[in-house]
Structure formats: structure tokens, C-alpha cells
């Protein structure tokens, strides 16, 4: 972990590069105010029915078997509306629900209908109709109309940006560093060597810019992979949140939280998935705290590539399915609502007799947020960011007006 002084030194080196270059340092002026948009990719296929159980459904307990949460006592769901609940690990989210800062979508899926993680993630991240139809991430394509394509407008909390943020617009990435710092004089020599290599010169410049912001924002954030079971997720969310909160910081953020592929010993009120959900819950609370006053103008969408089978599989887990849930949270969200067109859990309703069927297209949620929170024009939404998404109209009513 770098100490504050080192960070500041690198910040100075960065400023020197930028002064020498022709580009403006920050280019997010097109966003009229301090609105933030964050996407959390829950990789692995989150079991939506575990995170947001339909405990009021007459078939819930029977179908879920060992994975059903008990009606009462330890491990019982936190009730939301008498029918749906939240997994007991999600107590911070429950609090946000109470404060009307959390909306939940059930039966959410991308247009992808097979069961490969990697193709499903490709569709979630490219925003295309099928895998590999589009080569870059939809959030990257959104940066140009937002005026955030100058380099430090969007942040991936990762060593390299995921596909969601990959594309023609320049973005930056950050994770807490473990390396001993190199001196400024050396870095300027490297920058000269990189002048003839666009990939490396761009990356180096942006890395230094982001470090400079991080230096001011995160000097007290513990190292990633820190102590305790939730350490890694929490410290990344806290660090990323502070960078996003900075006045001159990026306006768009992407986090990756993996570990949802629960084929084996998933657990119910306690166990593997319960611990993972607790880490996510803790991380989101840390993100809220880190965003500080910016939280009021923030929307966070957490979504997974697909859901899982309703019934328990042969090994105490669930296999790849179709629909999952999406969490939409933040101070700018119309919260305390669950968007579900619930059809029940009868096998005639389930897709292929096994999966939660898809009702809401993930793209409709993203489009709704881009339109109503960030003011992206319809034309950009339909033609540039999500082509072929006419069947997934921008969802209204997500954003508080």
C-alpha cells in the first residue's frame, strides 16, 4: 500500500505529463452536476430466489427444499411486503429499503437464454442481443454522449477494465497498489519510451491521473484483501467509493463482485451463499458511506448474468438458470418498491420446468437509469448504446423526481 506522500508525489508526476500533453485533464463537464452512476457485475449467476425469496408463495418451501429459509426464527427472511423478503444477510440493504433508497426487480434477465456464464456475461456487458454481436461494452458507448470519454470520466475498480467498460472511449482503472512506488523521474523516462506505443502510453497517463485522485481520496483506506471475511469487497468498495466521491473524480464506476456460482452446498440462512451476500451487503454499505454527500445523487445497479434453478440440485446447490434479481439503490432512486410480475413457482410457469422465467430485461433497467438519471437522449440509447433493444423500453419510475 502506498502512503499518502508517495501518492502525492505520483500525482505531481502526473500533473507534469498532463501539462505537457494537449488534452484537458478531466472531461466530464458535460454532466451538468454531480450525479454518479455505478454498475456492480455479480459474476457467476446469483440465485435471485435466495437473495429475494418469495416466501409468501405457496410452493416456495416445497420447491426450494433444503434451500428454503425458515418462516421464523434464525435465518428467516427480512420481510418486505408480506410476500417477498430479503435474505437475512442483507440487513444494510433492508435498512436502505426502509429509507426508500432501494428498489428491487425480480425475474430479471438479459435477452440471452442459454446457460453459459461467459456468453451470458458477454451479453450483459456488451448490451447486444446475442453473445459477441457487439465488440465493446455498452457503458463505454454511453460515455461519449455523457461527455465522459476523456479518460478519467469512468472508473473500473479492477486492474484492467472489464468488457462492460471496454471500447473506444478512454476509461481508467484503480485498485489499491501493493508495489513499492517508482520515482517521478523514472516514470517520466518511461513515459517518453511509451510515446510510440498508444496502448501503453494511454494506460500509464490514466493510471497516474487516477492515482492522483486516489491519493487525495483514499489515503485511509485499508489494503484490498484486508482482514475479516468481507475485507476484500468492503475495502474495494470503500476505496472506489471515495474516488467516485471526489469532486474532480470519475462520475461512472464499475465494480466486479464474483462468487455466486453456487453449484455445491449453497446453504440457506447460513452457509456459503449467506456469507457472500453478507460481503455484498457490507460492501454496499461501505460504498454508501464512502460516497458521502454524493450518495444523494447516486444510482447503483447490481445485476448478474443469469439466475439459477429453482429446485435444489443433487449436491445441495443450484445449477445455471435464467432470471435473477437486480438491486437498484442510491439516494436518487425511488425506493421501497419491488418490481415483480410474479407468476408463481409451478413447473408449468418455470422456464424449461426449472428456471425463474424472465420478465424484465436488464437493458430496460439500464436504459431507464441512463435516460432519467443521466439525461441520455433516446436516440443515443436506442441506436448507440443498446441497439436492437426496442423490445426493452426504458423503464420509467426508477429515479426520484
Amino acid at each position: 500500500m502506498f502512503d499518502r506522500r508517495t501518492f502525492l508525489k505520483i500525482g505531481a508526476a502526473c500533473a507534469a505529463f498532463v501539462a505537457a500533453g494537449a488534452r484537458a485533464r478531466f472531461a466530464h463537464a458535460a454532466l451538468p452536476d454531480d450525479r454518479r452512476f455505478v454498475v456492480l457485475i455479480l459474476r457467476g449467476g446469483l440465485d435471485g430466489l435466495a437473495a429475494v425469496p418469495a416466501h409468501g408463495d405457496p410452493d416456495y418451501a416445497t420447491l426450494r427444499g433444503a434451500l428454503a429459509l425458515p418462516k421464523s426464527g434464525t435465518g428467516a427472511p427480512i420481510d418486505l411486503d408480506g410476500f417477498f423478503g430479503l435474505h437475512p444477510s442483507l440487513h444494510n440493504l433492508a435498512e436502505m429499503w426502509g429509507e426508500k433508497e432501494l428498489a428491487i426487480f425480480h425475474n430479471v434477465s438479459t435477452p440471452y437464454r442459454d446457460r453459459s456464464h461467459f456468453d451470458a456475461q458477454n451479453v450483459l456487458e456488451t448490451g447486444g442481443l446475442s453473445p459477441h454481436r457487439l465488440g465493446d461494452g455498452w457503458l463505454n458507448r454511453a460515455l461519449q454522449p455523457l461527455g465522459l470519454d476523456g479518460g478519467s470520466g469512468a472508473l473500473a475498480v479492477a486492474s484492467s477494465p472489464p468488457l462492460l467498460l471496454d471500447g473506444p472511449a478512454r476509461v481508467t482503472s484503480w485498485i489499491p497498489s501493493r508495489m513499492p512506488a517508482a520515482d517521478e523521474e523514472f516514470l517520466s523516462r518511461v513515459a517518453r519510451l511509451y510515446a510510440r506505443d498508444a496502448v501503453f502510453s494511454t494506460a500509464l497517463k490514466q493510471g497516474l491521473e487516477t492515482r492522483a485522485i486516489a491519493a487525495q481520496a483514499t489515503h485511509d483506506v485499508p489494503n484490498a484483501g484486508g482482514n475479516g471475511p468481507y475485507g476484500a469487497v468492503t475495502s474495494l468498495m470503500e476505496g472506489g467509493g471515495k474516488i467516485l466521491a471526489a469532486e474532480n473524480g470519475p462520475r461512472v464506476g464499475v465494480f466486479d463482485v464474483s462468487g455466486w456460482d453456487t453449484h455445491f452446498n449453497q446453504g440457506a440462512g447460513e452457509g456459503q451463499l449467506a456469507r457472500r451476500l453478507a460481503a455484498l451487503d457490507e460492501g454496499l454499505a461501505a460504498l454508501k458511506t464512502a460516497l458521502g454527500p454524493a450518495w444523494k445523487r447516486t444510482v447503483i445497479v447490481a445485476a448478474s448474468e443469469f439466475g439459477r434453478t429453482v429446485a435444489v440440485n443433487g449436491t445441495g446447490g443450484t445449477d445455471h438458470g435464467t432470471a435473477s434479481i437486480a438491486f437498484v439503490l442510491g439516494g436518487a432512486v425511488t425506493g421501497g418498491t419491488i418490481h415483480a410480475d410474479w407468476k408463481g413457482l409451478k413447473s408449468s410457469v418455470l422456464r424449461d420446468g426449472r428456471d425463474l422465467p424472465a420478465v424484465t430485461d436488464t437493458r430496460a433497467i439500464f436504459k431507464g437509469v441512463l435516460a432519467d438519471h443521466l439525461g441520455v437522449a433516446k436516440k443515443s440509447l436506442e441506436e448507440l448504446i443498446f441497439p436492437d433493444s426496442a423490445t426493452a423500453a426504458a423503464r420509467k419510475g426508477i429515479i426520484r423526481v
Binding site: 477494465p161 471496454d166 497498489s177 508495489m179 510510440r196 501503453f200 494506460a203 490514466q206 440440485n313 446447490g317
Partner: protein, 462 residues
């Protein structure tokens, strides 16, 4: 030193050791081809645990873990870590020293193709043994043999949950009410053989999962019920693997319109057929071309590799020779961006000198942490798909800074002895750009010169 010699050592190899480009320059293709028939690695891996021992130990420990004895669980975790560090010390040392760097690159390629991970507690202790036992012996052998070795191996059985999968209508299924887990069946079709475009359906995924029920790790004598079930005739055991007939789904199964008989042999036949499937040839050819030629390789190169695979029934010696013969692989840089493990290895090969011999399970820790900080923790790919194989995976702004800083820190430790300009020439030969050479000459110190070599675009690429 010829350009082709430099490409042989860097594009196909692990980065030149001093003198290597010179040696490769006389006959670059012959230099590479000879490596396919030699292997100097055995001694470096000779003191490591084999899988049957590790499996027996795991089974013995499971009782303690079930009893939730915190001391036993902690001891188990610490031992797993120690095993991993030993394995990694041997693996990195082999990478730094080997005189068959092309063979080693192939081993790493296949190991990533059949990715297993330490992220799952049960499979963590097997990852090193997996590569040594299931990948390494077959790197220039038959793909079908490698596939069979991989899918039998306890590391894969545990990582993709097949060890616990039970035929619902088998004796064990009827007794316990447990059933199928389709994870391994799916990933064999999608990742290991046909590829996601390979023309299979959800029905085929379930069929293969059913075919492979009963394939598991050897649980020894086990508890009484298990003991009874193990006694059923037809059990097959080898190398920590065991086929349990009592867990196997009865009846014939249909996979990709072919029928496979009930029993262990049905699984072997199904995997053998998958290994020779035309979709597998295309999938493997594409991945090899992406790995050795370019992020977007010429379609003709892929076609020729595919043909070599099909014509030889998946003989990886022939496929590797076809790769050497591929004209696109001999185009000068930019080529590919080195992965963090490849980058660290290349740096240590050229400048490690006597320090390499001191690599052991203690000193390997920082090396692993370095690769991790640059985005590639060994044997921890984010998914069963393995590490991505494209420049964008390793050149995020944070990743590039980490690479530059690692090079700087490493050069401080390595750089005071040799002349960095000589090392740069030895590392890259004609691939070294004049600007980089000048920058190294003008460096403030030998260590800074070496750090500039490491950071340079031509060293970051291969």
C-alpha cells in the same frame, strides 16, 4: 542474432536467457522443434507430493473438518498454503531455468485451457499436481489422452463439482435422495472440447453429466454406507480417482446423437469422441492461434492449425509443429502483450543470474504477490474459462502502472551487476528498438537502465 531467433525465444518461448537468441538464430524452427522432443523439467518437480497421497490425506482430514475442530481446519489451510508455495516455487523455477521454453509455454497454455483454481478450498491442494500429472506428460502427446487425464484428475473432479454428482436413479441416489450436478458436463462441452459454438444443447449437457456420474475421488474405505456401495462390482480406481458404480446413473445415454453404454467405459468413450470432434479441432486451433500469434489471428492460420489437428487425430506434437510452420507467427512485433506471469518470467530469465537458484517456497511468495498485483494470481483464474488471452486483459491503467513499478523494484534488486545495454541486446536482439537502447544507455544508473528495459513496450510484448 537474427530476428527469427529473437522471435523464437520471445514469441514462442518464455523470454530469452543470455545467449539464447544467439543459439536459436542458426536454425530457429529447428531450435523450437527440438524442444518438443526434450524435457529437462523432471528433476525440478521430483520432490513434490503425488495426488494419491494428497487424496488419502484429504479424506483422512475430512472427519476433522466435519467435526468443525477449528485447530484442525486452520492446520489444513496452512498446509494447503505450504503445498501451493512449494508447487509454485518449482513451477516458476522451471520457467526461469528451462532450456525448453516453448514446451513450457505449451504446458502453461494447456494448464490455462483446463483451468483449475485454488479459490475452491477442496481443489486448492491439487492444482500443482494437476498440471504435473494431467497436463505436462501430454503437452506434446495426444489431446484425447490429456482430456482423459484432466477429467479423471481429483483437481478437476473437485473444482467442477463432479466428485459429488450422483445419478438420481443410482443406488446412492435412491438411498440418499441426492442427484446430478451438471457443472463439469457443461464446462467439458463449452470450454474443454467443442466450444460454446460447438453445436450442443442443454440436453447434451445433462447427458454428459449423467454419463460422468460415479466419477469421483477415491474416498478410501469411507463410512459404512459408502463402504457397502463401494463394494459393488465394477469400481475402477487409479491415481486418486475412483469410479463408483453405485453412484452411476443406470442405463445408456445419448450425447450428440450417439449412444453410450452404462458404466465407466461409457464416459471414456464419450470423452474420446469429444476429443476428436471437428468442433474441438476448431476451438483448440483458434485458442492456440490467439495465444501464439495475435489477439485476432488470421483466419487462414486458424484453418491450417485446425487441419493439422484433424489430420493427426489431435496429435499435439503435429499441431505444435504446425504452429512453428505458421508464417503469421513469425511477423515482428507488436504480437501479444505478455501476461504478468510471462512478464515476470521473462525478466528473471534475462536478469535473474545466480539469484534464480535461490528460489524456494519462502522466496516465491513475493513473486506470486507481484503477479497478483499485476492482475494474474497463478491458479486463480476468475472462472473455469481460465485467464483471458488478449492485450486488454493486462493493459488497464492500473495494471500497466503495476507492471512498470514491479520492473523498477525488480531492477533495484537485480540490476547492479551487469551492463543493462548488453542485457537488453541479449533479451531482445533485433527486436530492441533504437530509442529504447538509447534510453537505457542514458539511464541514471544500471538499475534504472534495466528497469527501462523491463518497462519498454518491446519487452512488455512478445
Amino acid at each position: 542474432m537474427s530476428l527469427e531467433g529473437a522471435l523464437a525465444a520471445n514469441r514462442f518461448g518464455l523470454g530469452a536467457k543470455p545467449g539464447e537468441i544467439e543459439a536459436a538464430s542458426t536454425d530457429p524452427k529447428g531450435w523450437l522443434a527440438a524442444q518438443l522432443r526434450q524435457d529437462d523439467s523432471a528433476e525440478r518437480f521430483s520432490k513434490l507430493e503425488t495426488t494419491p497421497t494428497l487424496v488419502a490425506d484429504l479424506v483422512a482430514r475430512q472427519q476433522a473438518c466435519r467435526a468443525k475442530d477449528p485447530d484442525a481446519i486452520k492446520a489444513f489451510a496452512m498446509e494447503t498454503r505450504a503445498l501451493f508455495l512449494k508447487e509454485m516455487a518449482a513451477r516458476f523455477l522451471n520457467g526461469f531455468e528451462t532450456a525448453q521454453p516453448f514446451r513450457e509455454r505449451l504446458v502453461w497454455f494447456w494448464s490455462n485451457h483446463f483451468a483449475v483454481s485454488i479459490s475452491k478450498a477442496q481443489s486448492a491442494r491439487f492444482v500443482g499436481a494437476f498440471e504435473r500429472e494431467a497436463i505436462r506428460p501430454h503437452a506434446t502427446g495426444k489431446f484425447a489422452d490429456m482430456l482423459l487425464a484432466v477429467e479423471h484428475h481429483p483437481a478437476m473432479q473437485l473444482y467442477l463439482d463432479n466428485a459429488q454428482s450422483i445419478g438420481p436413479d443410482s443406488m446412492a441416489g435412491q438411498l440418499t435422495g441426492k442427484g446430478l450436478n451438471e457443472n463439469l458436463g457443461r464446462e467439458i462441452l463449452e470450454l474443454h472440447t467443442l466450444g460454446v459454438e460447438g453445436g450442443y444443447s442443454q440436453t447434451d449437457v445433462i447427458a454428459l453429466a449423467r454419463i460422468l456420474t460415479g466419477w469421483s475421488i477415491d474416498r478410501g474405505r469411507g463410512r459404512p454406507v459408502a463402504r457397502m456401495m463401494n463394494a459393488v462390482a465394477g469400481s475402477v480406481a487409479d491415481g486418486g480417482f475412483r469410479f463408483y458404480p453405485a453412484r452411476h446413473e443406470p442405463g445408456a445415454k445419448t450425447l450428440l446423437e450417439r449412444n453410450y453404454p452404462q458404466g465407466y467405459d461409457g464416459g471414456v468413450q464419450a470423452l474420446t469422441d469429444l476429443a476428436h470432434h471437428p468442433a474441438t479441432a476448431r476451438h483448440i486451433a483458434t485458442k492456440l492461434a490467439i495465444h501464439f500469434i495475435a489477439d485476432e489471428p488470421p483466419p487462414d492460420s486458424v484453418k491450417r492449425l485446425e487441419r493439422a489437428f484433424l489430420d493427426s487425430q489431435g496429435d499435439l506434437l503435429k499441431v505444435s509443429e504446425a504452429l512453428i510452420a505458421e508464417p503469421a507467427a513469425w511477423q515482428p512485433l507488436p504480437g501479444k502483450v505478455r501476461s504478468p506471469v510471462e512478464y515476470v518470467t521473462a525478466a528473471l530469465r534475462i536478469a535473474g543470474g545466480d539469484r534464480i537458484a535461490m528460489i524456494d517456497e519462502k522466496s516465491i511468495g513475493p513473486v506470486i504477490q507481484s503477479a497478483r498485483a499485476m492482475g494474474e494470481m497463478p491458479f486463480s483464474a476468475p472462472s473455469p474459462k481460465g485467464w483471458p488471452d488478449s492485450a486488454s486483459a493486462w493493459t488497464g491503467s492500473d495494471a500497466v502502472l503495476e507492471r512498470v513499478e514491479w520492473g523498477h523494484a525488480a531492477a533495484q534488486k537485480l540490476g547492479s551487476q551487469s551492463d543493462p545495454v548488453t542485457l537488453a541486446d541479449e533479451a531482445l536482439g533485433p527486436l530492441l528498438e533504437p530509442e529504447t537502447r538509447t534510453a537505457i544507455q542514458r539511464a541514471a544508473s544500471p538499475a534504472q537502465g534495466l528497469a527501462l528495459l523491463f518497462a519498454s513496450p518491446e519487452f512488455q510484448r512478445r
